[in-house]
Amino acid sequence: MAEAIQKKLKVEVEKYTQMQKDVSKSVSARQKLETQLAENNIVKEELDLLDTKNTVYKLIGPVLVKQDLDEAKATVTKRLEYINGEIQRYETLLKDLENKSDQHRELLSGLQQEFQKAQGMAVGKV
């Protein structure tokens, strides 16, 4: 009886750790997106400050590719929007993961209690 519970407990613990990892991953991804968002905002501002006489380059790998200012501005804007969307997606994902992990945590605690009881009974019997 105690052993079965123990096995169950192990399985549940593994699941829970996995979930926790997912959560942390999504959290870090979201953080990255946040920084990108900030950067792109700055770029946008800078681009607005520039006039057309300045040439804008984009670094693709080792190559600096000339870009049109307007194009650059448009690209940056798009990128910004994309980043925002990504952030929201990650947020929802994170919420779901957190809920799941909470449920799992409760389950784990219940199992632990059972396990302890069983252990106590086993000790008593012995």
Partner: protein, 456 residues
């Protein structure tokens, strides 16, 4: 205290951890601020460079080739700068424009630094608070945690309850004894009308003085409810018990006996109606009551325990010239004048010892006589009575005028109660009147009926 210590230890651990965490945050803030400061320094340097760069058309420089080699070269187009805007975007611009970009970045860096410094300050304050909390919980410093121990109160409550229960048990016992004594006295009444012996015997036989209470009660002619002997036993019993332990205030009419709740020597104050408060001499009272401990729980010191008025007479004796001389009742002629005063209370009270059984005998006589002249004319109706009893001290004359007790009682209610000598009576009266006025009539009747029948 162990629990408290344990709790404080846990608490202390928690507080310490909190403090550590807060300090961590503070350190983190510090490091970030350092980072930003560095950045701002770099930007400052860059700014300077950008300012000076366009001064010359070209510069001779030693150009680094890889990590180890250098080559002499020239720096041209000093005003053209390719600036990184962020996210792999570059822009070619003049130094002035580059400077603007740098300025922007500098602003951003400054704002970040300000935020960080703010958070750092907050957390430093928190750290200080947690440090203080640590000190409080550990008991160091000037902070003291005040906790009340609620256990003592509970103990006192349980003690009180126990005592009360014991008292009730004792009360029941005494009532039973009274009943027994009642029967005995009824039989012995006719034979022994000489109060002293009877009273003494009864007093010595029992802790509770039913018999003793009865004669003084009977001696009191003022109030009808006081007169019947048998019934006075019960109330004095209860009364004496109550006297010892409970708070009892009897306010029947004018004379009142006030007993205070005693954990210590009591003082019995007797309000004798005419704005005179009589006090038992405190010396003797304390003397007697020191020996008498709280209530029924303690061993019975028969000599010193006051449970009925008779005990008072026994205790409050005159100066002992080799032997304790019991005081004379105030009904006696010598103490008559002082009956109202406080000083002679004991003497007059003591006199009652002799008169106890007599009192019972002439209880009816008193009622009858007081009807006519004695009670009404004199304030101290008992004082009038002695005129008769002195002559009839020895025996019951047998001239019993049997009357319905209630009608005779009525006129006496208006009489001013006598002073001291009737302390015990009064006490008994009031208790008796509370308890069993109706019963008195039949019993009294029966007693004198018996006497009359005997005569017949």
């Amino acid at each position: 205290m162990a629990e408290k210590g344990k709790m404080s230890n846990e608490h202390l651990g928690g507080v310490a951890r909190l403090r550590e965490e807060q300090e961590k945050v503070v350190k983190d803030c510090e490091s970030r601020i350092q980072h930003w400061k560095k950045l701002s320094g770099d930007y400052e340097a860059l700014n300077d460079r950008l300012k000076t760069l366009p001064d010359q058309l070209s510069y001779d420089i030693t150009v680094p080739f890889g990590p180890l080699a250098f080559m002499p070269g020239k720096l041209v187009h000093t005003n053209e700068v390719t600036a990184l805007l962020g996210d792999n975007w570059f822009a070619k611009c003049s130094t002035k424009q580059a400077q603007k970009i740098v300025d922007h970045r500098m602003k951003y860096v400054k704002s970040e630094m300000d935020d960080l410094s703010k958070t750092m300050k907050n957390f430093e304050a928190r750290v200080g608070l947690t440090k203080d909390l640590e000190n409080i919980s550990s008991g160091k410093g000037d902070y003291i945690d005040i906790r009340e121990d609620s256990r003592n109160i509970e103990a006192a409550v349980t003690k009180g309850r126990k005592r009360i229960e014991e008292l009730w048990a004792r009360l029941d016992e005494l009532e039973k004894l009274e009943q027994q004594q009642d029967d005995q006295d009824r039989l012995s009444d006719n034979a022994d009308m000489n109060g002293d012996m009877n009273g003494e015997e009864s007093s010595s036989s029992e802790e509770e003085k039913e018999a003793d209470a009865a004669p003084p009660v009977n001696g009191q002619s003022v109030k009808p409810s006081w007169t019947p002997a048998p019934h006075s036993k019960k109330p004095p019993c209860k009364d004496s018990i109550a006297e010892e332990d409970d708070e009892e205030e009897e306010g029947h009419g004018l004379p009142t006996i006030l007993f205070s709740h005693t954990m210590e020597p009591k003082k019995v104050r007797i309000n004798t109606g005419k704005n005179t408060m009589l006090k038992f001499s405190e010396r003797k009272e304390q003397h007697s009551k020191k020996k008498k401990k709280n209530g029924l729980n303690n061993g019975h010191h028969e000599l010193h325990k006051i449970t009925t008025p008779v005990d008072i007479y026994r205790l409050f004796v005159d100066v002992k010239n080799g032997e304790p001389i019991p005081r004379k009742s105030i009904l006696k002629s010598r103490s008559r004048e002082n009956s109202v005063c406080s000083d002679t209370s004991e003497s007059s009270a003591a006199d009652f010892d002799e008169r106890r059984m007599i009192g019972r005998s002439f209880s009816h006589d008193d009622t009858t006589h007081s009807d006519t002249s004695d009670g009404l004319t004199e304030e101290d109706s008992p004082t009038a009575v002695p005129l008769h009893p002195t002559s009839r001290f020895e025996a019951f004359s047998g001239t019993v005028v049997e009357k319905d007790p209630m009608p005779t009682a009525v006129p006496h209610l208006t009489l001013a109660p006598p002073a001291l000598p009737t302390i015990m009576e009064r006490k008994q009266e009031e208790v008796v009147s509370e308890v069993a006025p109706p019963q008195e009539a039949p019993k009294r009747v029966s007693k004198f009926k018996a006497a009359r029948l005997q005569q017949k």
